[in-house]
Each structure stands twice: as C-alpha cells, then as structure tokens.
C-alpha cells in the first residue's frame, strides 16, 4: 500500500532518490527553519528533520517538519526513543500523520551524555527496531502496540538508519535485515567516506537479499575543512574517515579545502551510485545546507523527478 510520500513515489518509480536534512534551530524562530529549507527547495525529494540530534534541545522535529511541509517539502520526521515512551511515541505519530507528514525515520537516539542536558533521565522504553514494528502495526493493522484499534489509522512511509561502519561489523547487514523484517521500507546510512567498507557491507546486504526489501540511501557528507575531517574521524563514535581522505584535505591549501571536500563528496556519490542495491543518497551537509544544490547539480541529479 502506497502512502502520499513523494520519497516513496520517487523510489518506487525507479529513480535515484536524493534526500537531505534540516536540523531545527535552538529557538522558536520559524524563519531559521525556512532559511535552511530555502537552500534545499527543488533539489531534494524529501527532507529529514532531526529530532534533538546529539541530544541538544532544539525545536521539535514535528514542528519543524510542519514548517517545511508548508514550504512544499515532503518531510521525513525523525523520531528517537531516547525522550519518549511508547505512549508519547504513538501520540506524536498520530499527530504528525494528522498534519500530513508522510515519512518517519525510526532511531534509537544519541545518548544524552553528548548533549546539553547530560544529567537528564533517558527513556528507551522501546528501541529503534521495536519502534519500526510499532509504526508498522499502526499503519498496517490500524492498531496500537497494546492491540487496541486506532480510529483513523495513520499512513506513513517508514524508514530507519544503519551504520555500516560501526562494530561488530559482521552483524551490521543482519541488523538491517532485522529492520526490514520489522517493517522498514527505506534506510539512510551513516556518512560514507570509506567506500570500500561500504561496498563490503552492501555485498553482505545483497547476500541476505535485503536490498530487495528496503530502499538503501547512502549517507553523504561534504567535508568543509581538514579540521572537520579530523574531528569526524577522531571524535564522532562510529564514523570511519580513511587516512587518504584526511591527507587529500590536508594537502589542499586552506582556501581550497572546501572545494576539495566537495570533490571528494562528488566522487563518493559517483562510486556509491554504481554499487548494486543503492537506490539513492542522503546528503547531510552539516551547517552547510547552501552547498546541497551545487552537489545535486554537479552529480547530475538535477532536476528532480516531478509528480
């Protein structure tokens, strides 16, 4: 059964999908969301709206999704299990669906230790795979987790994330298989820098036949500077930035580093596109949203398929 999701339409029509993301502001100003959204307009099939990413308090994912929806976007509302129990999760899903949000991305969520309220109590009543099952049940069976009937069932295209670069590596493809079994329809991966390892993971994914069950969008992040590259390599858990890329960034003169970062990003897109089973890319241009149009155009992915 199809939803009203543009992302689902693009993927089902066999087009190579392009999504990006918009991190909501640390304040109540809707203009901040509109400004970031403005950069992406026309260049993406859907835009992810992060849910208090890195455990820093921001405008809610649902509210920012709604603002982007009014701008004509097809938002992917991200939802983490860190801050809500199953009651709040299901309630927020109903609310989002009521306002025409068509996509949800189910995540466990970063630990609060990394955020601005490290002394907070976390929830983790359910985990990301159980969240996928929960949304699936609401959408397909029209029932809550409790089994009770929903009057006015939500319609959502259900996504998940996976990190091919985290450990233990041997279960990372199985983990996606589990998410597919739970009912995920698309996956957006952690930023791909190590294409070789990503290729190995994709091979394992194909061996399990998972690429035929979920649409796989490779995560792409352009590096602004060698400082950012090193930071991601050394300080972000589960991030794999190979040394040769660090060297390329380092060898570029300071004023040319951003250019080199975009070049690496475009090469990565080219490489992941040629991997069997990759259905699209998810561009995470962290505080660099204005570069998304150039990336999409240079990668030959513009214009985007219109309904």
């Amino acid at each position: 059964m199809s939803t009203a999701s543009n992302l689902e339409r693009v993927l089902k029509s066999g087009n190579f999908a392009v999504t990006s993301e918009c991190g909501p502001p640390r304040g109540a100003d809707p203009e901040a969301v509109k400004k970031k959204g403005g950069f992406l307009s026309g260049y993406v099939d859907a835009v992810n709206v992060t849910d208090n990413q890195t455990s820093v308090v921001r405008m809610s994912s649902f509210s920012a999704s709604l603002i982007l929806k009014t701008m004509g976007f097809d938002p992917v509302m991200q939802m983490v299990c860190r801050d809500r129990n199953r009651i709040a999760i299901q309630s927020d899903i109903l609310g989002a669906a009521a306002w025409g949000i068509n996509n949800i991305l189910c995540l466990s969520g970063d630990h609060q230790k990394f955020g601005d309220h490290p002394t907070a109590k976390n929830v983790f009543d359910i985990d990301s795979i159980q969240l996928i099952q929960c949304v699936r049940k609401m959408v397909d069976e029209g029932r809550f987790l409790s089994g009770e009937e929903i009057k006015g069932r939500p319609s959502l295209f259900i996504g998940c994330a996976e990190n091919p670069f985290a450990d233990p590596f041997e279960i990372r493809a199985m983990r996606l298989a589990k998410k597919a079994k739970a009912g995920a329809q698309f996956v957006q991966t952690q930023c791909v820098f190590n294409v070789e390892k990503f290729g190995k993971w994709m091979e394992m994914v194909r061996d399990l036949g998972v690429h035929e069950k979920v649409y796989i969008l490779a995560g792409i992040t352009p590096m602004k500077s060698v400082g950012m590259a090193k930071y991601m390599k050394n300080s972000v858990p589960g991030m794999d930035v190979p040394d040769d890329l660090i060297k390329r960034m380092q060898d570029a003169p300071k004023e040319k580093q951003a250019e080199e970062g975009i070049r690496i990003c475009l090469e990565t897109i080219e490489k992941v596109r040629s991997i069997k089973g990759v259905s699209g890319i998810h561009i995470m241009a962290i505080e660099w949203e204005q570069m998304v149009p150039e990336i999409v155009k240079s990668a030959g992915l513009y214009p985007r398929p219109q309904p």
Binding site: C81, R82, R86, S108, G109, D110, H111, K113, N122, F124, D125, I126, D127, S128, I129, Q130, Q133, C134, L145, A161, E162, N163, A166, D167, P168, E170, I171, M174, R175, A177, K178, K181, A182, Q190, P237, G238
Partner: protein
C-alpha cells in the same frame, strides 16, 4: 551484591552540623564486601568526623556499630537499648538499610553516608561493576548471559547502536559494548542466527515502572 560509594566528606559533615551525638551504623553484608560501609569504613569515617569536629571546636560523641544486616528486623532490633542516647543515626548501609532503620525508629533521623549505586560483581580486587537492574523479567536466556537492560547504556534489545566501535560503548570508553559481548557470545556458541530474532517490546510493569515491588511467600509467613 548491592554496591555503594561513600559520600564526599564535606557533604557528610554538612549533614551532621546540627548534631553532636552520632550513632554511626555499618553493615556486614554487601557494603562490607564492596568496602563502602563495613566495620572498617565505619571506623575510618568516625575518626575523620571526630578530628574535623574537634578542630572546629564542636566535638562529637560517636558510637560505632556494625549490624550483621540492616535489612532484617532481627538485627535492626538490637539497636533498641541505646539508639535513644543519640541525636542522629548516620548510616553506611545501602539505601534499603538506611530506610529500614528509620522505619523501625520513627523518632530518629537516619542520614545516608553512602550513595547506593548498583547491583554488581567484584570484577577484580577493588573493581566492582554493574550486572543487573532487577527489571523483574529476565532475558538472559535470549542474550546468552549478558544483560542488555543493564549493560547497554540505551537498554537496546535488538542489537548495538551506531556508536559501538572497537568493542567499546560510545558513552564511556571503559565500558564494553553489551551487544559486542552478546554477539561474541552468539559466535562462540555457534548461534549467531539468533541475532536475527526480533525481541518484542518489553513489559516494564515488573520493573520499577510498575511501582514499588513486593514479594510474598505465604508459606513462609509466620
């Protein structure tokens, strides 16, 4: 065992400010094993308090008592002959013992000298680590003896998060990733396929979420 940590001395001294006759209580069970509140720790703390207060010109009288157990009425009762001779009880027992003594002697205030931290094991001499949260619904059969509720910082039931790297939890580099341990165990036992089973949402009503818990064995009641 229940593991505890002595509170910082400054915090203890601050709590004791209004009092000059102190019954300092230890426990011979868990807090003795984890070296937080046994007879030895009671003696050390008593000396520290006496010295500090003597220096301040506000000397204290301290009686040191270490009960066999603070969570058992039989032993708590033994305080009766002398507890009223004191202004306050400072307890080095776990949170259960502190409360239980207070429940029995309602005219006394029982102050905590330790922070009760977790149910754990002695990994090596001087190192204790958490293993169980008492969720009331054990899943150790499914994870081959490694508790995801306790040992995963996010209590994930279906595998490691994206922050597991090199066998280590993203929250603390000294903490092994619980799911790395579980996967290693599956592999050791030739049961890696079990990882593919989806663990359904947990019933937390048997945990603290269901309210304070009580266990009754009618056949044992007197």
């Amino acid at each position: 065992m229940i593991v505890a940590d002595r509170k910082p001395f400054e915090e203890i001294i601050e709590m004791l400010k209004p009092y000059s006759r102190i019954l300092l209580l230890g426990c011979n069970e868990c807090v003795t094993v984890c070296a937080a509140g046994g007879a030895k720790e009671v003696a050390v703390l008593a000396s520290e308090i006496r010295l500090f207060r003597a220096k301040e010109g506000k000397p204290v009288e301290i009686k040191e008592v270490t009960l066999e157990r603070n969570c058992d009425p039989e032993y708590v009762e033994t305080l009766k002959p002398f507890i009223d001779d004191f202004d306050v009880v400072l307890s080095m027992a776990c949170g259960c013992g502190i409360q239980f003594v207070g429940e029995r002697y309602r005219n006394m205030i029982v102050l905590p000298a330790v922070n009760t931290t977790f149910y754990g094991v002695t990994e090596q001499h001087g190192v204790w680590a958490e293993r169980c949260q008492g969720c009331g619904n054990c899943v150790l059969d499914k994870t081959l003896g490694i508790c995801p509720v306790t040992r995963c910082a996010k209590s994930l039931f279906n595998g490691p998060c994206g922050g597991s790297q090199g066998g280590v939890c993203e929250v603390n580099k000294d903490t092994p990733c619980a799911w790395q341990l579980i996967v290693d165990r599956y592999k050791e036992m030739g049961m890696l396929d079990r990882y593919l089973e989806i663990q359904p949402v947990k019933d937390w009503s048997t945990s603290r979420d269901g309210g304070p818990r009580k266990r009754i064995r009618e056949d044992l009641k007197i």
